[in-house]
Amino acid sequence: MNAVYAALNLIFIVLFAPLLDGIERKVKARLQSRQGPPLIQTWLDLLKLFRRPNVRPRESVRWLFEPAPAIALVSVLAASLFIPSLLPGSLDTWGDIIAFIYLSTLSAVAIALGAFSTGSPYAQIGSHREVSIIMAEEFSLAFIVAALAASSGGLSFSRLFPLQLKVSTITGALAFAVMAYVAGARIPFDVAEAEPEIVEGPFIEFSGKGLGMLKLSIYVKRLLLTTILLNFFLPQDGTVRVLVYVIGLVIISVVYASIEAHYGRFRTKDAARFLKRFAIVGILSWILGVVGW
């Protein structure tokens, strides 16, 4: 039973993540008074990439560069198995929120390492930025997770989902919503890619299937972060949940996309400064959680 659930969840996530990006593109286009691409455009882009060969720069370190896209994709897909998405969680006894965060960070680190190995100056700067953002992000995330754990009495998903309604859990979940936005590398936090500045940074040397996998891993990561956020509030069983879950994904995506359309890109140091200040929200909700509010 668990294996069937896991397979179904995986298929849903892989199929739906690019579609969600398509919806975001459409929303942004409408906000910019454009027609926008069709909803399945992101899927078409990915299929095109998967049909093309990989090209490896001569100067790159082969054993770092070649497996990087696969590691990035596999780690987010593995993380997806822990949390209930379309169907109840399949492997939730094997991992908790810490494991989830480590796996999703691993995907970012794999991209950064693969990019570092190419020797391209743009990739170097991009990876450098990616790592700075991860550092700043982890600092805030640690307190937010600690706050949620303190008020729910555990780190496992069975305890976290759904959250009990307390002041600390609500502030924690809201702070998590912001972190989901940041970790999804959306404007103004997409400093690592920043096409007009450093030409897609870490992705500059990747092509074909590799680039396709990297892009897919980002879409999956965005969907998973939203999934966790929704799970904080949704009931764990019932058929209504499936419907509400899918609608919730779309609504949060639309909200995120419209926020994205209203901002310009930060500089790396501004983004890091924002995240460090934001950690205060995490610390406060942690204190609230410890006090028992």
Partner: protein
């Protein structure tokens, strides 16, 4: 008065617009220095091969003084049989590029030049071949050369980042080399002129006086009209051609339409570079209306083809005037809405304030023009200081800011476009009736003329030497970006890498203007693809 400085020089020409003086090798540096101290800045330099006439090479240094409203041209000729003249770069920093250009194109040797390296010609161009000399046929093909593999010196303790030749934020092939420590730019170098089209040679060799305006218009895809207007004014200045007043008003209207369209384009690009794509899209939507105005008046959305020596080619009728005014209101309303929003966005302002500062002193030494100069505290505007077309009859303000950063440049352009809306309305209102073109003129032989326009990016100056017989002996267009680009390395130093594209874009660079160029594969005769259009598009 300028005659105090030019004491002892032979005055070749003097009228209320310009003074031409022949200067000797012994005192040119002193005179140039004295002019600079008197408030004249280096505007342009034109090398001329005058050997068919007097057996010498000549260099025309054109200085602009906005307070006196006058151009001073220092002409220096080389001794007979030798191409050597003294360089003025040691005293006038702004002359560096013009002298290097004359070195490349004509083989004039500037003794004492601090950096006598190639500027325009590629590194693999054969030695001793000078394309702008009169004995070099315009259609000559050079034997294919091998690319030179130079061992590059690497700077210590810094990382080199190539910004270009193909970079998504430059939109044209141009190369900036940034030396970076951490996230800070410590030094920058520039190498351009990848896309030189040889327009001057083409015009001098096989085009007639009235064909060149259409070539001049193609110098730039954004501000072509100001180039053709400047060229026409140069010829009209040289030959003393009367231009009907109605034509002058129509020229003014089109120049201002072009300014609005170019500035709106710039605002959009800046938004895109700041990652704010919504702003980019909304501004370009407002820009559509101004393109509609251009189409209404000239029949073309860009590259209007309206100017011709002696007048303009199309009239603005009563009906068109009304439609234009209606469209104008729409552009003004929409662009004000979007731009006000952008100026109030805190995080966008933070990225522009204090970034890419150009101090006034350096700006003056390099001779930067247009919004660049005005944002660094230099009060200059060709439209006001050297009135041309109908600008003397119009009432407008020239915005000047002291900060010299990207945000000051933003504000200068912001105020400028709203001035332009008023200017178009005034011009449409006061346009006198009458002729559109005066085609009864004679072109005198071997006469110097200067035409200047204030392009959206700054002062464009076209110098022309006539040949009589419907031909041009020498045509030297100089676009505003040519004067503004040398300031970019100064502005980049000490800023973040993240800000580099923004700083480069803040001068509103127009590389192809600077190079007098464009890259079309069909021009080289090389066919990239033959087959169905649909498939070809996909392949390219």
């Amino acid at each position: 008065m300028v005659f105090d400085i030019l004491k002892g020089c032979k005055i070749l020409e003097h009228n209320d617009k310009m003074t031409v003086a022949e200067v000797g090798a012994s005192n040119i540096r002193e005179i140039a220095r004295a002019l600079f101290e008197r408030g004249y800045y280096y505007s342009s330099g034109m090398g001329v091969d005058e050997r068919p006439i007097n057996g010498r090479f000549a260099m025309y240094h054109i200085f602009n003084c906005d307070t006196e409203g006058r151009y001073v041209v220092l002409k220096i000729t080389s001794p007979e049989g030798s191409p050597e003249v003294p360089s003025i770069t040691p005293v006038i920093k702004g002359a560096e590029w013009s002298e290097r250009e004359a070195m490349d194109m004509l083989g004039i040797v500037f003794s004492g030049h601090p950096k006598p390296e190639r500027l325009i010609l590629p590194d693999d161009w054969p030695e001793g071949v000078y394309p702008l000399r009169k004995d070099f046929p315009y259609n000559k093909k050079l034997p294919p050369s091998k690319p030179i593999e130079k061992e590059r010196e690497h700077k210590k303790d810094v990382m080199e980042i190539p910004l270009g030749p193909y970079h998504p934020s430059l939109h044209e092939p141009e190369y900036f080399e940034l030396y970076v420590k951490g996230d800070k730019v410590v030094d920058a170098e520039y190498r351009g002129f990848h896309i030189h089209r040889g327009m001057e040679k083409l015009a001098e060799s096989r085009m007639t006086i009235n064909q060149i305006p259409f070539l001049a218009e193609r110098i730039c895809g954004i501000c072509g009209c100001t180039h053709s207007a400047a060229y026409c004014q140069a010829v009209e200045d040289a030959a003393g051609i009367y231009v009907p007043e109605r034509a002058q008003y129509i020229r003014t209207i089109m120049l201002e339409v072009e300014r609005i369209h170019s500035h709106l384009l710039w605002f959009g690009v800046v938004c895109h570079l700041l990652g704010f794509d919504s702003g980019f899209m909304h501004i370009w939507r407002a820009r559509e209306y101004i393109m509609d105005i251009a189409e209404l008046i000239t029949g073309n959305r860009k590259t209007y083809g309206i100017n011709i020596v002696g007048g303009v080619r199309r009239d603005i009728t009563e009906d068109k005037k009304e439609k234009t005014l209606k469209l104008l209101d729409m552009v003004e309303k929409e662009s004000r809405e979007v731009l006000d929003n952008i100026a109030e966005m805190k995080e966008l302002r933070e990225r522009m304030e204090g970034v890419g500062v150009l101090p006034k002193k350096e700006a003056r030494e390099i001779g930067v023009v247009g919004p660049m100069a005005r944002s660094s505290g230099i009060d200059t505007d060709v439209r006001r200081d050297h009135p041309y077309a109908a600008y003397k009859d119009l009432d407008f303000k020239v915005p000047v800011y002291k900060e010299g950063d990207v945000f000051a440049r933003f504000l200068v352009r912001y105020e400028e476009i709203f001035e332009s809306f008023n200017m178009i309305r005034q011009a449409l209102e006061n346009m006198p009736p009458g002729e559109l073109i005066n085609d009864e003129y004679e072109i005198p032989p071997f006469k110097l003329g200067i035409g200047v326009t204030e392009a959206p990016r700054g002062e464009n100056i076209h110098a022309v030497i006539t040949w009589g017989e419907n031909m041009i002996y020498r045509w030297h267009p100089r676009a505003a970006t040519y004067n503004n680009l040398p300031a970019v390395p100064i502005m980049l130093r000490g800023n973040d890498v993240a800000d580099a594209p923004l700083i480069i874009a803040s001068i509103d660079p127009c590389f192809s203007c600077t190079d007098h160029v464009s890259i079309i594969d069909s021009e080289s005769g090389k066919i990239l693809w033959r087959g169905p259009l649909k498939e070809g598009v996909r392949r390219v």
